[in-house]
């Protein structure tokens, strides 16, 4: 198979100025038997080369779904994208043909999944799965692809790469498997990597190593990184900016330090308070009361209002827009000032 073709590397006029990736007013819904689940409801974010955006949220907040929409790996149907733009290097990927998008996947945008054991093919050797990237996208021979695979395994510091290239995923430890996932994403030196909970399935000690490796490689290749996580601890060290998602919307959007020092949305505040802290040892851990909403029946007004300690009448009727807070920051709360001020 020789698929050596180039999707136009000619940048569009404003590609130099535009961010690497810009998601505009993205909507994703799922048509299920129980009705239409609105998973993503008008999300905006952007990532530049070399920048790390952390998308934070509980399960069901739409963080993974929006990433899968960017990647173009949603099952459609049942998923549908009724509205929105996903601009990659200035071009709207939602308007591209399936074949055009396929050539971006893996080559320009790569994805790292959560559970490396189930995300790697159990019956193919890791060398084959890594080499496949080169064979399909660059038309390399089996032998050359294997050599490249060994090189990659070395890059992500898998010991004895040459001996282990023929091994199968189940023969590796969890941390090593996640390194293989990272290597696979890195293979063609993409411009953007989307990491969907890359460390959730790992031990805490291994988590740190894997995150460190990812951050290091990102800096080296000057890649954009979207880090999807529910773990605030992971975010603090590596992210440049954070987008907090709730019920398919971004509720707060800010540089990483601002959010930790002064959250401007009650939901973010709740998340921060529910992190266990050493100085509060012995006290009951704070938890946001209630449950995330059913996406087929999102509450009117602000979706967070049933769980919000600050909710007023206006919160039950009016959907709060993302209000600018300072310069590079936004909060979708009617009472962002009060939240900040407390």
């Amino acid at each position: 198979m020789t698929v050596i073709d180039d999707i136009s590397d000619v940048p569009t006029p404003d590609a130099k100025l535009a961010p690497l990736l810009e998601v505009r007013d993205l909507h994703v819904e799922f048509h299920t038997r129980d009705g239409v689940a609105k998973a993503v409801n008008g999300v905006n974010y952007s990532v530049n080369a070399g920048e790390t955006l952390a998308v934070l949220g509980e399960s069901g907040s739409g963080k993974s779904v929006s990433a899968q929409a960017v990647m173009g790996i949603l099952d459609m149907p049942p998923a549908r994208i009724p509205k929105g733009e996903i601009l990659f290097q200035g071009r709207d990927m939602l308007k591209m043909s399936g074949e055009e998008r396929r050539k971006i996947r893996g080559r320009k945008i790569a994805m790292i999944f959560q559970d490396a054991l189930s995300s790697l093919n159990p019956v193919l050797s890791v060398g084959y799965q890594l080499g496949e990237m080169y064979r399909v996208h660059q038309g390399l021979s089996r032998k050359d692809a294997k050599a490249k695979a060994i090189e990659l395994m070395d890059r992500v510091r898998i010991p004895a790469a040459r001996e282990r290239v023929g091994d199968y995923p189940h023969q590796f430890s969890g941390g090593m498997r996640q390194r293989i996932m990272i290597a696979m994403a890195l293979a063609l030196e993409p411009d953007l990597i989307i990491a969907d909970e890359p460390t959730t399935a790992l031990d805490v000690t291994v988590q740190a190593q894997v995150m460190e490796l990812l951050a290091e490689l990102q800096a080296e290749y000057n890649m954009g990184l979207i880090l999807i996580t529910h773990d605030l601890g992971v975010v603090a060290d590596v992210a440049d900016k954070i987008a907090v998602m709730y019920a398919g919307r971004i509720v707060e959007d800010a540089p990483v330090h601002d959010i930790y020092s002064k959250p401007a949305h009650p939901y973010t505040k709740g998340l921060l308070q529910s992190i266990p802290r050493l100085d509060q040892k012995g006290q009951e851990l704070y938890a946001i009361k209630g449950l995330p909403p059913n996406l087929t029946r999102i509450p009117s007004g602000c979706a967070f209002n049933p769980r919000c300690p600050m909710a007023q009448d206006i919160c039950r009727t009016d959907v709060p827009q993302l209000h600018p807070v300072g310069t590079a920051r936004g909060s979708a709360c009617h009472f962002w000032k009060e939240t900040l001020g407390e």
Partner: protein, 307 residues
């Protein structure tokens, strides 16, 4: 891998001895081979005693079994009811049944897997539901019904094929019998493939394959089929063993002189050497088929190989 094979081969020995002894015991101890030899007539006592002595029938059963086994290993399976040696019966019967099995297995692979892949990828669509219903019908109707109906339609009514198979049983005459023989397994292969495909379509590693930007045909062949066909291949492997011995009904319908036919004759005439001889070989075939399946499984799924 080598040790795995050796262990599996060693495991076959007690199974072989146990099952052949059981058959031997049932046929020789529970029937009277000498009486059977004479059919309806009462045997002359002197002749009967002589035959008894020749066949070692006066020895204890275990000794008879040992003698029988010794003979088998020198290629002597005894004599059939018509005076022909059992070995020569086998020589004429097994090639026919092997050809019939090949035809049946080809049907299972080509039609069964294709239908399974098709329906697995089009779950819930009308064609999927249609095929699913059809497999249910095929599974619930016994072989002798489908056999006679198809024989009547294709052989008698429309005259597309000859309704009975000539003694040489060439491949082209075995197409319809092969289909009849395969039908039930074919339906199972279809359902198994469908389920397996449907399951693997949702697998995480398939999503990874899409995210890698692989072309669709590569995703389906290298990733989806490669994983989905593991249980199917093992089912078909086991089925070879079944088909080799289980064609009694089909062979009767189409008058095919294969293993099933000879076994049927042997049982009908209470001819011990024929029955025990054929069953012994079938036990071996079955054991080998199972061994092959296990080895194939290990080759296809590295998680078994290195367990």
């Amino acid at each position: 891998m080598g040790r795995y094979v050796i262990r599996r081969l060693l495991q076959m020995i007690p199974v072989f001895i146990g099952s052949t002894f059981l058959i031997f015991f049932m046929v020789y101890a529970l029937g009277d081979p000498v009486a059977a030899l004479f059919g309806d007539r009462a045997p002359d006592p002197a002749t009967a005693a002589q035959i008894r002595a020749e066949l070692h029938l006066n020895d204890p059963l275990w000794k008879q079994y040992l003698i029988y086994m010794k003979n088998i290993f020198t290629g002597d399976f005894g004599t059939a009811f018509n005076g022909e040696s059992v070995v020569s019966l086998m020589r004429s019967a097994f090639p026919v049944t092997i050809r019939l099995t090949i035809v049946a297995i080809l049907f299972e692979i080509i039609i069964g897997i294709s239908l399974g892949v098709l329906t697995g990828m089009r779950r819930g669509k009308p064609d999927d539901t249609g095929v699913l219903l059809l497999t249910l019908v095929v599974i619930s109707v016994p072989t002798f019904v489908t056999g006679y109906v198809l024989q009547y339609l294709f052989g008698v009514q429309w005259g597309w094929v000859s309704p009975s198979v000539s003694p040489e049983a060439p491949f082209n005459e075995l197409i319809l019998p092969g289909l009849v023989l395969a039908l039930v397994s074919l339906a199972y292969v279809t359902r198994l493939t469908r389920t397996s495909i449907a399951e693997n379509t949702r697998a995480d590693y398939l999503r990874t394959a899409v995210a890698k930007g692989l072309p669709r045909h590569r995703i389906i062949i290298r990733h989806l089929l490669r994983n989905s066909l593991i249980p199917v291949v093992t089912f078909i492997g086991t089925d070879v063993g079944f088909l080799m011995g289980g064609a009694i009904v089909t062979e009767r319908i189409f008058n095919i002189h294969g293993v099933g036919y000879q076994l049927y004759q042997g049982i009908l005439r209470n001819n011990a050497p024929t029955v025990v001889g054929f069953v012994t070989i079938l036990v071996l075939v079955f054991l080998l088929a199972n061994l092959l399946v296990d080895l194939l499984y290990a080759v296809l799924d590295p998680r078994i190989r290195y367990a």
